[in-house]
Symmetry: C2
Subunit: 436 residues, 2 copies
């Protein structure tokens, strides 16, 4: 007979767990027969002893089986999703989902809320008035039929074991385990009923994975476990040394995503979005080469088809935007103050983590799960790495609620910048293709 | 500000925790602000990353401070206790406490119940009719004044953090961590208000520590941490390759302990008890050398002083024994069956763990904390390692409640024995002195 202590002891000793043991543990954890304190001990043992791709696949399957799956039946248009491990300023999904859908790809995207400094797509979307950010399974299926995409929070029906487990990992110091991250991502993504997944594994100060090496490990684990589970996964590594784009903050990032679909996005954001779109198009078999796929993505933006699809999608999820206005009718905090350069030179550092934390100081993020998020606050960068700057020129503009949070945020943002005499020479590439 | 996740992450990364962090964590765990699942994650991280003697001392101090301490004031007779890490057939404390007390040593002994196959002193004593196995702090002090010794369970007032932590470790696979074992033992022992502690660290199949190497590690940790805490500790390593003495089972072991005090104990039991008594006598400064101390111990038995003290002690804790009877008036299970040797030869194996489990099969142990223990069951070995045996001769006698449990126990006990053509040559010594 299986028992939790024996399973914990087994993993603690570095022995591979069987599929039966992993399933039993997860199933009994969901019912409460295996207790939180036993699961957290197992998770810590997994942190130290790891799990191989077979164990990770078993874990993924057990979490997947704990809930319902979007079932689209056989045939139909290709279903492909993109998932990012999260980074400061990452608003790619908001533009990418309707872009891909405008090309006929079905994008059933389950997304998360922010915790810590990296921001979450759902929070960004919730800055849109009346936007319904959590759909039922029936609504999700209808969205895929009518619009071709949705972005929704995870309901309680989808991988409840993952939901319970993630909340536990968050408060027990067991978040940063490659097999646990892998099974959490893949169980949610497999619940979407997709055929292929494009992973944007981010690394750097503003990302969840700090080093390129750990991002590479996670990418490999996602590929191998995806293979075990019969899901085609492709991965791209991207750097979050500085924020992606210029906007950090929920409403501000929605505006930047729309600007991107208008062909006026920041270069780095366009590059990452274009690459991920191309990966999705290739994964959906709509183009033979990545360069062809990239052309298709560019055309979808240039022709306005992607923006048209964005409008249709947001409206279908209840959101109301005023596209005739620069602020799209979103509420933006009224206290706007520029942070000015204290010397002339070149920006050598524009630290993503510090800037993410500065937006949290403004109230735009979440320290714990129950915190309210202020969607109207944030900052717009005026200068990024290697930009030339003169003393007194603005480095960034803050959108704040009050002077108190503004001062804290400015203090923090100041430490994010370093201005030197010369630009930075050798830099980490923004995008690193990850070979299979 | 301290927070549990940061402390878990710190230990996970292998960094030494400060005394403040350890105290904060323990104090908040006792109040419930730090949750079970966070503590178990920390304990698992401690299992993998260890704690040095300073951290272990901080942990010990925090647990000690969570409760009350027996305060005997300055001066008075030396207070010395003995503690064993537990082994099958270990009934030493029952004879040793009154023996030492008869020589003027104060022995305030807090003891535990059994879990698993090793048996606990309290369970053994509870086979004595009317014996009060849990005393209040006031009663403990009175016993030390009037009788010079007591053996009692840990009340809720003593090291409650340890009590809560031990229960958690038991169900989360985090029992076998040297610093956690050390702090658990020492916090309880320091609560007794003793000046010196003699540790019997047992190793082998029937003990908690399986290997001599791990026993040695624990002994070292106890010595070093004791030193940090200002407690004189001396340690002896003893082997539990086979049960200590012939009796295994609660009432049967009480009878054997009394026989020891009558000068009729098994040789190995006499050797271990004598050595530990000598260590206590030296620690109490009542003899200069161990050989002198051993003589004193032997004389206390030979003169009947130790037995007289035993009677006084048991009566003071409410116990009623009939010393005129061989069974002391204890209830012994009525179904008595001999297990006979299946061949002639020499006993080469008489495995302590299997025999401990056989007694559990009979109902004499506890699988989980709430289980009832049947004090009347057990077994008496007739043959031990290197004894010559003829086919059909009894290897052991079972005391059972019913045929069902008897058959299970016999099956198990059979696997404990190996009879070969010759005795075993090189053997692990029963007693290994551990130098400071």
């Amino acid at each position: 007979m299986l028992n939790p202590v024996a399973i914990i002891e087994k993993k603690k000793a570095g022995t591979k767990l069987t599929g039966e043991e992993i399933r039993w543990m997860l199933q009994n954890y969901v019912t409460g027969a295996v207790r939180d304190y036993q699961m957290s001990a197992l998770l810590m043992a997994v942190y130290f002893q790891g799990m191989d791709s077979e164990e990770t696949a078993d874990m993924t399957a057990a979490m997947l089986e704990s809930g319902k799956v979007l079932d689209f039946g056989p045939g139909g248009s290709p279903r492909v999703d993109k998932h990012s491990t999260g980074g400061v300023g990452d608003k790619v999904s908001i533009a990418l989902a309707p872009l891909a859908a405008s090309l006929g790809i079905k994008v059933p995207m389950l997304s998360g809320r922010s915790l810590g400094h990296t921001g979450g797509t759902l929070d960004k979307l919730e800055s849109i008035p009346h936007f319904r950010s959590v759909l039922s399974l029936v609504e999700m299926k209808r969205m895929i039929e009518s619009v071709g995409c949705f972005i929704s929070g995870q309901t309680n029906e989808i991988a409840p074991a993952d939901k319970k487990l993630y909340a536990l990992r968050d408060v027990t110091g067991t978040v940063d385990s490659i097999p646990l991250i892998t099974s959490s991502i893949l169980s949610k993504k497999l619940s979407e009923g997709i055929e292929a997944l494009v992973m944007d594994v981010k690394f750097g100060s503003g990302a969840f994975m700090r080093s390129k090496a750990s991002a590479r490990k996670l990418a490999r684990s996602l590929l191998k476990t995806g293979e075990e589970m019969g899901l085609r996964v492709s991965t791209v590594l991207t750097s979050v040394e500085q924020p992606l784009g210029f906007a950090v903050g929920n409403a501000l990032e929605v505006i930047e995503a729309v600007n991107l679909l208008r062909g006026k996005g920041p270069r780095d954001l366009m590059a990452v979005t274009g690459l991920l779109a191309a990966e999705m198009i290739v994964a959906a078999d709509l183009a033979k080469s990545k360069s062809k796929a990239l052309q298709m993505a560019r055309r979808a933006v240039a022709s306005g088809a992607a923006l048209k699809h964005f409008k249709k999608w947001v409206a279908a999820q209840g959101g109301t935007l005023r596209f005739e206005r620069a602020d799209l009718g979103l509420e933006l905090a009224g206290l706007r103050i520029e942070m000015k350069a204290w010397r002339s030179g070149f920006v050598r550092r524009c630290d993503a983590k510090a800037l993410g934390l500065a937006v949290m100081d403004l109230g735009g993020g979440r320290v714990s799960v129950d915190d309210d998020v202020d969607h109207s606050v944030g900052l717009i960068l005026r200068k990024k790495i290697n930009h030339k700057v003169k003393v007194g020129e603005p480095l960034a503009v803050f959108y704040a609620r009050d002077m108190h949070t503004l001062r804290e945020a400015e203090e923090r943002a100041r430490s994010a910048f370093h201005i030197g005499n010369s630009p930075v020479g050798q830099r980490t590439s923004l995008i690193i293709d990850f070979p299979r």
